[in-house]
């Protein structure tokens, strides 16, 4: 079954005096990415098992997000004195993307501890577990995307050709997700208190980020918004879809934040990858 010729005989070598951490971390990511089929199958099984026996399955999320859109839309458009047609497209994109980000971040905290049984038994690239987590949340988030379309149709909101810029925005979110799944997954495996802290931080971030409200309601404080990473990332998708293109500053900030998350995650992963099996 596992035919190997002598010439390509694989070798596993570790030397504590010469850990070669960078090489192993790169190898982990490379091998993990090449195993995307495994990650996708596991992600799919996670969703299937979570909603086993349920009639609507993950569409329950679509339904609850839809109900939330309707309720919040009616309430806040009145509070902010905006017409529903003006407010609802903003809320729909913001809420759907925010739900995706927030679920992703919360799930990232258990990306490795949830796979404890596998990590301690099978030598597998840790990237596979991170990809599994990202793909699982990606699939779930995709169930909410049709809501955006429905709202746009109902409100007669038609984004121009700049809407394609939402795709690089989604790619930025995906890159951040992988970095977060690795970084938070490791950090929360080692320090079990980080998970709840992340949970409450995300709750606070929901109110500090322009999801229910529009940035211009801040008046002259609007210029400071790019300091909020969630605003910057959110704007790369919402801008193209709702505002006719996001502010350039938000794009610059989003790209800088993405570089920062990737660098932090990479440094942490390179340094501590060898310890993960002891942490989970």
């Amino acid at each position: 079954m596992l035919d190997q010729t002598a010439a390509t005989m694989p070798a596993y070598h570790v030397d504590a005096a010469d850990p070669q951490r960078l090489r192993k971390a790169i190898e982990d990511v490379r091998l993990g990415a090449s195993r995307w089929r495994l990650a996708f199958t596991l992600a799919w099984l996670d969703i299937r098992n979570r909603y086993r026996g349920s009639v609507l399955g993950p569409f329950w999320l679509t339904l609850s997000t839809g109900a939330m859109l309707l309720g919040l839309g009616l309430l806040y458009s009145t509070l902010f004195n905006m017409s529903l047609r003006e407010y609802l497209p903003h809320l729909a994109v913001s809420l759907v993307i925010w739900n995706a980000i927030s679920q992703m971040v919360n799930d990232a905290t258990t990306s490795l501890t949830a796979s404890e049984g596998i990590i301690r038994q099978l030598p597998l690239p840790y990237t596979v577990h991170a990809l599994r987590c990202v793909m699982r949340n990606g699939i779930i988030a995709a169930h909410n995307f049709p809501l955006i379309l429905v709202v746009f149709l109902i409100c007669g909101h038609l984004p121009g050709p700049e809407a394609v810029l939402a795709i690089p925005g989604l790619i930025l979110i995906a890159i951040n997700s992988v970095a977060a799944a690795l970084f938070l997954g490791m950090l929360c495996a080692r320090f079990r208190d980080i998970g709840p802290i992340v949970g409450s931080t995300m709750q606070l971030a929901f109110f500090l980020t322009p999801i229910l409200w529009k940035p211009r309601l801040l008046g002259h404080w609007e210029a400071w918004m790019p300091l909020n990473p969630f605003y910057a990332i959110l704007e790369t998708v919402r801008g193209p879809l709702v505002e006719g293109g996001g502010p350039p500053l938000a794009w610059v900030a989003a790209i800088l934040y993405t570089i920062a998350t990737v660098v932090v995650a990479a440094v942490f992963f390179v340094r501590f990858r060898g310890r993960v099996a002891f942490w989970v």
Binding site: M1, A6, M9, T41, I118, R120, Q121
Partner: protein
């Protein structure tokens, strides 16, 4: 040529999530638990192991519970990275440490075999072939396409055994000798195990069962407290073990 070579191999197991402070007093001064330089409580799982296992070696790791047998197997498999020393394993590694790891209870037997194939990094076509081979050996009939959560214990063993042994690695690492199931299955299982072991260049098995050691192994390493107490031909090592017991 498959080779396993360990030089000064050390592994400390950190205890992160126990009440370190209250335990500290009680545990300090005892032999295997101590605090490491960054003030964590660790248990020395493997201490300064030196050995070389070459092609043709059938090695039994023997010793009492907690001697470090399974930890050594997992280190050889690449799960744990040693904190000191070096380890080189040349050859395709096949680890049968916990055969149930990575199984999905809600999936059918066939889906589980395909999943195992993906874990091993096989292509789709290879997964299909694996599924056929396992189906034939496990003899589950229609149950092969039923979620394994409905399996009886014996059926579960047959599936995991068939799945685990459907490979031909050069370095075979096994924890305990998983022999269970009904009598008709045992005869088939023995034959299959013999083929698996015979086809591997190196076998390392952790076991308590001396009969297994005498039957399948030609070398034994006796571990205790994470150290090698004896390493040599089976009778020599087992003789020493029985003399002290």
């Amino acid at each position: 040529m498959a080779v396993i070579e360990a030089r000064g191999l050390c592994l400390d197991f950190p205890y992160y999530h126990i009440g370190a402070r209250s335990l500290k007093k009680r545990l300090m001064g005892k032999s295997r638990l101590h605090t490491d330089p960054s003030n964590r409580i660790v248990v020395t799982a493997l201490r300064n192991l030196d050995f070389r296992i070459g092609t043709g070696d059938r090695v039994a790791l023997v010793g009492p519970n907690g001697a470090g047998k399974t930890t050594l197997l997992r280190t050889l498999a690449g799960v744990y990275e040693p904190v000191a020393g070096s380890l080189t394993v040349t050859g395709q590694i096949g680890a049968l440490i916990d055969v149930a790891a990575g199984m999905d209870n809600e999936s059918t037997g066939r889906e589980n075999v395909r999943l195992r194939g993906l874990y091993r990094g096989l292509t789709d076509a290879e997964c299909d072939r694996l599924a056929e081979e396992v189906a034939e050996f496990a003899g589950l009939g229609d149950f092969f396409d039923v979620p394994i959560r409905t399996y009886s214990a014996g059926m579960g063993v047959r599936l995991s055994f068939a799945m685990a042994t459907a490979m031909q690695p050069q370095v075979l690492l096994m924890d305990e000798w998983f022999l269970a199931g009904d009598a008709a299955f045992m005869a088939k299982a023995e034959e299959r195990l013999a083929r698996l072991v015979g086809g591997a260049d190196i076998m390392v098995v952790a076991t308590h069962d001396f009969a297994v050691v005498r039957r399948w192994c030609n070398r034994a390493i006796r571990l205790e407290g994470g150290m090698i107490l004896a390493d040599g031909p089976v009778e020599e090592v087992l003789g020493g073990l029985e003399a002290t017991a």
